[in-house]
């Protein structure tokens, strides 16, 4: 189930397929440079191909340890690229190489084994071109967003990267800030969202924001106000379809019994949760509960036919916002019934 991303077309020093993500021209940064250097020096070897080293050829039978050798080789090549700085990020700081080799593998066990995520309606997400994925937000920490992104990367036929719009707090916190950018997120502002959609990217937005993330457990699966509907404006301006996504399961991972508002304000956080295990069990309390998850992508709501002038009409904005919110709320109710028990 490893995603088949665009790979560099060249061969590595060992004569194997290069594993770097491909940039323009189907080559990675390293091989593109070699190609340019080879072009500059006409007597240079075949472009993009290393002269094979005088190493003994691969042992054809590595036996039971063969997969381990392959894994170590890939890991070493990744480390080599990182040590030498030979990778490329886009203008938002998205680092597909890091996502593929480090971040996604860290999240996959949670996705597959801990929460046993099931996806529905992936066919509603286009294979290419812009779309705005709008979802419900819950669970104290934004794991729901990460799981939706991983569902699209791993299970969507086109292995799409979801470029999410995150709160400004994410870009203020050390460690979190660079990770947020490297995994493809950017600040939730109209400029960034428009730019991503115009570039044909799949953009994810969680309009409930902190109101959804930090709501008490007794209000679970009741969608909060959808901000001021800024996401609808962006969709109308760019003509991108809106794909509502309903996540069931995220509400139970950290059931929030109380919110220590004073402490939160002191620390500069939007809320400070008290769950049955946190902070009572200390760091152990940070382990999320293994609820059963269902993620459903609903049929897209087209916006292109309304035209960009529709942004000027507040009624259109309100109606579209409500339509998206109702679609998600209904799908959440439907899937809650379908799921049955919380821990499935």
């Amino acid at each position: 189930m490893t995603p088949a991303r665009e790979r560099c077309q060249a061969r590595t020093r060992k004569g194997e397929r290069c594993r770097n993500p491909a940039g323009p021209g189907g080559l990675c940064a390293r091989h593109r440079r070699q190609l340019e250097e080879a072009a500059a020096a006409p007597e240079g070897g075949a472009p993009g191909v290393h002269t094979p080293p005088a190493e003994p050829p691969d042992d054809p039978d590595l036996g039971p340890l063969g997969p381990v050798v392959d894994w170590v080789e890939e890991a070493l090549e990744f480390l080599g690229r990182r040590v030498l700085g030979e990778y490329e990020v886009d203008e938002f700081g998205h680092d597909p190489d890091l996502v593929e080799h480090v971040l996604a593998p860290l999240l996959r066990p949670l996705y597959r084994h801990w929460w046993r995520v099931e996806t529905l309606g992936l066919e509603h997400v286009p294979d290419s071109g812009p779309a705005l994925v709008v979802g419900n937000h819950a669970g104290t920490l934004p794991f729901d967003a990460l799981m939706v992104a991983l569902a699209l990367l791993d299970e969507h036929p086109a292995h799409r990267s979801l470029r999410m719009l995150a709160a400004d707090l994410a870009f203020n916190l050390p460690v979190v800030a660079p990770l947020a950018r490297k995994s493809g997120n950017t600040l939730a502002c109209a400029e960034d969202a428009t730019r991503l959609l115009e570039a044909g990217e799949l953009v994810g937005v969680w309009p409930e924001g902190y109101k959804g993330l930090g709501k008490p457990y007794r209000e679970r699966y009741r969608l909060q106000r959808f901000g001021r509907g800024g996401f609808v404006e962006v969709a109308l301006r760019t003509g991108a379809p809106i794909v509502p996504v309903a996540v069931v399961g995220s509400e139970e991972i950290y059931p929030m019994l109380a919110n220590l508002r004073r402490l939160a304000r002191l620390l500069g956080f939007p809320y400070f949760p008290v769950t049955p295990t946190f902070p009572a069990l200390g760091p152990l309390g940070a382990i999320p509960l293994p609820s059963k998850w269902l993620i459903e992508f609903c049929p897209p709501i087209e916006t292109a036919q309304l035209g960009p002038e529709a942004v000027l009409d507040p009624m259109v904005l309100f109606d579209l916002t409500d339509q998206v919110r109702d679609t998600i709320q209904q799908a959440v109710h439907k899937n809650l019934l379908a799921r049955g028990s919380v821990f499935g």
């Binding site: 020093r13 940064a29 440079r33 080293p53 190493e55 691969d58 042992d59 039978d61 590595l62 036996g63 039971p64 340890l65 063969g66 381990v68 050798v69 170590v72 080789e73 070493l76 090549e77 080599g80 990182r82 040590v83 030498l84 700085g85 990778y87 490329e88 990020v89 886009d90 203008e91 938002f92 700081g93 680092d95 400004d168 870009f171 203020n172 916190l173 050390p174 460690v175 979190v176 800030a177 660079p178 950018r181 490297k182 950017t186 600040l187 502002c189 400029e191 960034d192 730019r195």
Partner: protein, 347 residues
Amino acid sequence: MGRRVLVTGAARTTGRRLVGALAEEPEVERVVAVDDLEPGEPFPDKVEHLAVDLRSPALVRTVQSAGIDTCVHLGVTAEPRAAGGRVTMKERNVLGTMQLLAAAYHAPDLRRLVLKSTTAVYGSAAGDPAVWTESMSHDTPRHGFGKDAIEVEDYVRSFHRRRPDVAVTVLRLANQVGPTVDNPLTRYFELPVCPTVLGFDPRLQFLHEEDTAEVLLRTILGPAPAGTFNVAGDGVVLLSQAIRIAGKPPLPIPEPLVNRVAEVVGRTVDFSPEQVRFLQYGRVADTSAAADQLGFIPKWSSLHAFEDFAATRLRKLVTEEQVTRAEHEVLGLLRRTAAWVARELPR
């Protein structure tokens, strides 16, 4: 009649290079190089060196009398120490510009004004949009080079209102790198270790010195579209990536200690507080307007420009060969072990 060009800040790297290139252009009849510093190597014959400060009355006479048709203002500096302190730097940057523009206002033949500005006008903050376009409104940097650059840009724009017959082009350049560039950022990468803000990895853009000279030359001699343009190499480089390409060990500093360390390091590299913020939050500018209207597409991407700087100026701690050899050795050992296990296990 050929072109007569006046260049301020002409003795610094960029200026020296531009003046040299202008002197080689057949359509340029005369170049006046203004700088109170002596250039590293003497200017070519066609060039007159006017060794005065921008605030000097001699400059006024030259601008107005010599039939100057193009004024290129490169004299805005980002280096407080080299300028003789922050107060002097501000005075030179802002008052120098005011004087120059005052002189230019009465220059009868002036048709074109080119200002070398900086993307530092956008500042650096966590809440910034990912990519700045020229028209986006930005919180004004409250101090330092960015603030000087904004004030200078404002004066230049107001000059444009008073002299609408002069085409005014403002080029906001990203951080320059290259084999001969010497600025606070290149000195930072030349330190034995590169201090970073712990837990932050900003996106940076670089502009190769060849492209700087090229874009200035094109703006001076080309069809001169008036306006403001971001200029930077394509793509972005992360600070962590740049440090690895530079082959230096990073030294992450926790945020509360950053200012104290910056003070110490700042003495060597001439760093100002806004450059520290730049190394925390970074900055990326959209260059499509320069491509569409100015027709300028940089030859060097941000990554290639930085790699060229690193290859010509820095000695790597870890080389590609070492990494390849280590990869080979570990894999060879592992392969042999695996093959041995495969052979011996069935017995």
